[in-house]
C-alpha cells in the first residue's frame, strides 16, 4: 500500500513531467526527424510565446476564474503596437510601454467586473474578448500592418546560438513568475484564495485585490505575447491570437496539471504543458497527418487531460 501510494503520489504531483517524457520517448522512437537538435530548438521557439500567455492563464485559473479574452487581447496588442510604431511613429520603447499599459487596463476592467460587479469570469471575459476583437478591427479598419522596423523585430528575432531572443524573454518571465507563484506571499495567498475564498479572506488575505490582480497579470502577459508574436511574424494583425489561441493556452495549462477549479497548479507544470502541446502539433506535422485531423487529435488530448485531472483529484 505505501508503495502504491508513493507511486500514485508521484504521478499526481508530476503528471506533466510524465506526460512530456512519454511524449518525447514515443515521438523519438516512432517519428522520423523528431529527435534532432534543430527540431528541439524549433519546439522551444514555438512554445516560447504561448508559454508566456499560459503563465497568465495559470494565474487566473489559480483563483478558479478563467480569462477567455486572452487570445483577443493578443490581437489588440499586436495591432496597437503596430499602429503606434508604424502609423503614429511613436518611439519603440514607448509604443511597447503603452501597449502593456493597455493590457493592464483591460485586465483591470475584467477584474473589477468579476470581483465587484460579481459577473462570472467566464461571461465577463467572453464579453470583453469580443469587445477587444471589435476594437482591434475598428482601429485598424481590419487591415494588417506589414514590414515593421528592423530595430523592433530585432528585439525578438535576434539569434543567440540556436535560439531566438524570444525564447530567453519567455524564460525570464517563467523564472519571474515561478518566484511570484511559488516563493512569494502573493503566490501563497493566491493558492489559499483559490482553494477556499472564505477561509483566506477571514485570514486576512486581500482577496479582492488578488482577484483583480490576476486578470491584470493575465491581460498584460497577453500583451507581451502579442508584441512578441508581432515581431515573430513581422506583421501586426487585429485577428492575431483569437479564441482558438485562448483554448490552446487553457489546454496547455490543464495538461500541465493546473486545475480548472482553482488553487492547484504550477508554473513549471504549465510551461511543460505548453511544450507537450507543441510536441503533439510537431508530431502531427512530421507524420504528415492530414491537416483536418489535427484539431480532432487536440480535442482528444484535452479530454484525456481533464479526465486524468478529475480522476487524480478524486483519489486523494
Amino acid at each position: 500500500m505505501p508503495i502504491r501510494r508513493k507511486i500514485s503520489g508521484f504521478v499526481k504531483n508530476n503528471g506533466s513531467v510524465i506526460i512530456i517524457l512519454l511524449l518525447v520517448l514515443f515521438a523519438s522512437v516512432f517519428v522520423k526527424n523528431f529527435f534532432s537538435l534543430r527540431n528541439f530548438a524549433l519546439l522551444l521557439k514555438q512554445a516560447a510565446i504561448p508559454a508566456i500567455a499560459c503563465i497568465g492563464m495559470t494565474i487566473v485559473l489559480m483563483t478558479g476564474g478563467i480569462d477567455l479574452s486572452l487570445g483577443y487581447m493578443i490581437g489588440l496588442s499586436s495591432i496597437s503596437v503596430g499602429l503606434l510604431v508604424k502609423t503614429y511613429e511613436v518611439g519603440i520603447p514607448l509604443a511597447i510601454l503603452l501597449t502593456l499599459l493597455l493590457g493592464l487596463l483591460v485586465g483591470l476592467f475584467n477584474g473589477v467586473c468579476v470581483q465587484y460587479i460579481r459577473v462570472p469570469a467566464f461571461i465577463t471575459t467572453l464579453g470583453t474578448g469580443y469587445i477587444l476583437l471589435g476594437v482591434a478591427q475598428i482601429i485598424s479598419n481590419g487591415a494588417s500592418i506589414n514590414h515593421m522596423p528592423d530595430v523592433f523585430l530585432a528585439l525578438g528575432k535576434t539569434k543567440i546560438g540556436l535560439l531566438n531572443t524570444t525564447v530567453f524573454i519567455s524564460l525570464a518571465f517563467c523564472l519571474a513568475f515561478y518566484y511570484v507563484l511559488h516563493l512569494s506571499t502573493y503566490g501563497r495567498s493566491l493558492r489559499a484564495f483559490g482553494l477556499s475564498e472564505p477561509a483566506s479572506r477571514l485570514s486576512g488575505c486581500p482577496t479582492a485585490r488578488l482577484n483583480v490582480s490576476v486578470y491584470m497579470i493575465s491581460a498584460t502577459l497577453a500583451s507581451v505575447a502579442g508584441i512578441l508574436l508581432t515581431m515573430d511574424v513581422n506583421c501586426a494583425q487585429p485577428t492575431m491570437g483569437g479564441g482558438d489561441y485562448t483554448f490552446q493556452v487553457i489546454t496547455g495549462a490543464v495538461l500541465g496539471g493546473v486545475s480548472l477549479y482553482g488553487g492547484v497548479g504550477s508554473i513549471p507544470g504549465a510551461v511543460l504543458g505548453v511544450i507537450s502541446l507543441k510536441i503533439i502539433n510537431n508530431c502531427i506535422n512530421l507524420l504528415n497527418v492530414p491537416y483536418y485531423w489535427g484539431s480532432a487529435v487536440l480535442g482528444i488530448v484535452i479530454l484525456t487531460a481533464i479526465i486524468f485531472e478529475n480522476v487524480k483529484n478524486r483519489k486523494l
Binding site: S184, T185, Y186, S196, P198, A199, S200, G204, C205, P206
Partner: protein
C-alpha cells in the same frame, strides 16, 4: 392509551461522511443507544442542547442517513430506510429547519413535485384545483399560483406542512418550526398541529422554546451528547427538572481558570444593530478578560462577531478598539491590528483544507512574517513546529494536509493560526464545536493561557458549562440583541443563562 406507532430502539450512529456511510475505523458515536417511541395522535417533543443528536435521530427516521445499530419499527414493521423516498412512502413527513422548497416554482408545483398529475404534460388546472382544496382544508389562505419565492417564511412553512399532509404522512417531523415565526403565526401553527392530531397524525417536534413545549406537547424526550436521557409526560413537566436533564454533567476539572482581567479596555461596541430592526448592542472587553456570549443558535451571536470583524454589513453603531473609534475595517486591517476571529465554521471559513498544516498556520501572518514578500520555508516550518508542540497537534509533520486531521486537531490548527498571528483580542465562535473531550480541555487551557498573557477573549458558545467555567462576564443574546449581562461569576448557573436565552 393510544397505541405506539413508532419505536426506535438502541439506535447508534457512528460519525459519518458526506454519503452517510460511517467513516472507516471510527469509534466516535454521534448517537449512542437512543430510544424514541411515538404514539398515535401525539405531539412528541424532542429536546436537547445543540449537538445532542436530535437532528441526526430525525435524519435516520426521515431516511436521509441509515442507522448503524439498533432497530426502527414503524407500525409494527421493522424498517431500515436507505433514502427519503422510502420513509415518505411509509408515511413519514419531514419539515426541515431550512425549508427545502423550490423557490422558483409555484406553490402547486412544489406540492406535486415528483408526483405531478398528468402523463406527458402536467395537468396544471387539476393541480391548482387540488392544491387549493388541500390549502383550504388546513385553513391556509395561499394562492397556489404564487411563486414560493414571494412567500414569507411562515407561509413557506405552511406549504411544507400541506406537502407533508398531502402525502398522507402519519408522522410529521418538525425541526424547529417556530424559529422564524411571529407569535400570531405560531398560534396558527399550533392550531394546525391540533387539527392534524385530530386527524390521527403524530408529530415529532423539535424546539428549544420551553413555553411552547408546554402548550403543544404531550410527551417529551431528552437527548444529551448523543445519548438518551429519558422521556416524561408533559403532565410531569418541571422547568428545572428538564433543564437538569438537558445539561446533566458537571466537568469542572476540565477547566483552567487562572487568568485575571485587567483594567485596559480593548473593545467597546456602542449601539451596534446587527439587523435593521434589532435592538442595539453595547458591550466591552478588557485586557486579559474572557467574556462569554451565550444564547441560542440564531440569536445573532455569529452575526455580531462578523459585524465587528468587518465581513458583514451592520445597521448602525460604533466600534472602539483600544479607545479609538474605528469603522469600515477589513479582516486584513483588523488582523494587522491584533483583532482576530475564529469562525464557527471550521471547514469552510476556518481552514484551507487541502493545504498543509504549516500553510494554514502562517496564512494569517504572512505579511508580518515575510514583509519582503519572499517566503522563507524554514521560518514557516519552525513556526508550525512550535505550534504543533505547544498545542499538541497529533500529526505526521507540518507538511501534512489539514483535511487528513481529526476535528479536534483541525480546530487546534485554526487556533495555532491565530496564536501565531499575535492576537490582542481574539473572538472565538464555538471554539470547541465537534471536538472531543480531551481536546476540549486542551483548548480551554490555551484560552486561559492567552488571557493570562493579557489577550482579551470574546467567546461565543452554546455550551453552558463552557461559558460558566471559562468566563469572567457573560452576555446572553436573544433575537439579535444582548438580553442580559451577567457580571458575577459566582452567580453563573445554567438556569440563569437559559432564563435569558429563552
Amino acid at each position: 392509551m393510544e397505541k405506539t406507532i413508532l419505536e426506535m430502539e438502541h439506535i447508534t450512529k457512528y460519525i459519518y461522511d458526506a454519503y452517510g456511510k460511517p467513516i472507516r475505523g471510527t469509534n466516535v458515536k454521534i448517537l449512542s443507544d437512543v430510544h424514541l417511541d411515538v404514539r398515535e395522535r401525539e405531539v412528541h417533543i424532542l429536546i436537547g442542547e445543540n449537538g445532542a443528536g436530535k437532528s441526526t435521530l430525525m435524519k435516520i427516521l426521515g431516511g436521509i442517513i441509515p442507522h448503524d445499530e439498533g432497530t426502527v419499527r414503524l407500525f409494527g414493521q421493522e424498517v431500515r430506510f436507505t433514502n427519503p423516498r422510502q420513509s415518505q412512502a411509509m408515511g413519514v413527513g419531514f419539515i426541515h429547519q431550512e425549508l427545502d422548497l423550490c423557490l422558483n416554482l409555484d406553490v402547486a408545483e412544489n406540492l406535486f413535485l415528483g408526483q405531478e398529475i398528468g402523463r406527458l404534460f402536467s395537468d396544471k388546472r387539476e393541480m391548482y384545483r387540488q392544491s387549493r382544496l388541500m390549502l383550504e382544508k388546513l385553513g391556509f389562505d395561499i394562492d397556489p399560483r404564487t411563486p414560493v419565492r414571494r412567500l414569507s417564511t411562515a407561509h413557506q412553512q405552511m406549504v411544507e406542512i400541506v406537502k407533508a399532509v398531502s402525502r398522507e404522512s402519519k408522522i410529521i417531523i418538525m425541526d424547529e418550526p417556530t424559529a422564524s415565526l411571529t407569535q400570531a403565526e405560531i398560534d396558527h401553527l399550533f392550531e394546525i398541529i391540533r387539527n392534524l392530531k385530530r386527524q390521527g397524525v403524530s408529530i415529532v417536534y423539535i424546539s428549544h422554546r420551553f413555553e411552547e413545549l408546554k402548550e403543544i406537547g404531550d410527551r417529551l424526550t431528552v437527548l444529551r451528547d448523543g445519548g438518551y436521557v429519558g422521556t416524561i409526560d408533559m403532565a410531569d413537566f418541571e422547568h428545572g427538572k428538564v433543564v437538569g436533564m438537558m445539561v446533566g454533567r458537571e466537568l469542572s476539572c476540565m477547566y483552567h481558570c487562572s487568568h485575571r482581567p485587567e483594567a485596559g479596555e480593548v473593545l467597546r461596541v456602542e449601539g451596534l444593530k446587527i439587523g435593521p430592526d434589532t435592538v442595539p448592542i453595547d458591550l466591552t472587553v478588557h485586557r486579559g478578560e474572557v467574556v462569554g456570549i451565550g444564547g441560542l443558535v440564531g440569536a445573532g451571536r455569529t452575526e455580531l462577531a462578523k459585524s465587528i470583524f468587518g465581513v458583514r454589513r451592520y445597521f448602525g453603531g460604533r466600534i472602539f478598539y483600544h479607545g479609538r473609534a474605528v469603522a469600515g475595517r477589513t479582516p486584513q486591517q483588523w488582523i494587522d491590528d491584533g483583532l482576530m476571529y475564529l469562525t464557527e465554521d471550521r471547514k469552510i471559513e476556518g481552514l484551507v483544507l487541502p493545504m498543509s498544516i504549516e500553510g494554514n498556520i502562517t496564512l494569517a501572518s504572512l505579511r508580518r512574517l515575510f514583509p519582503y514578500t519572499r517566503l522563507k520555508p524554514r521560518v514557516e516550518t519552525a513556526i508550525a513546529r512550535e505550534m504543533i508542540d505547544k498545542l499538541r497537534i497529533v500529526c505526521r509533520g507540518p507538511k501534512q494536509a489539514v483535511n487528513t486531521l481529526s476535528g479536534g486537531n483541525q480546530q487546534e490548527v485554526v487556533l495555532g493560526k491565530w496564536l501565531s498571528a499575535k492576537p490582542r483580542l481574539l473572538i472565538l465562535d464555538e471554539p470547541t464545536r465537534g471536538v472531543d473531550v480531551g481536546a476540549k480541555a486542551e483548548i480551554y487551557e490555551i484560552i486561559d493561557g492567552l488571557a493570562r498573557e493579557g489577550v482579551a477573549i470574546l467567546m461565543i458558545s452554546s455550551e453552558l458549562s463552557e461559558l460558566i467555567n471559562m468566563s469572567d462576564r457573560i452576555y446572553v443574546m436573544r433575537r439579535g440583541t444582548v438580553s442580559a449581562e451577567m457580571r458575577d461569576p459566582a452567580a453563573f448557573t445554567q438556569e440563569s443563562i437559559l432564563a435569558h436565552t429563552l
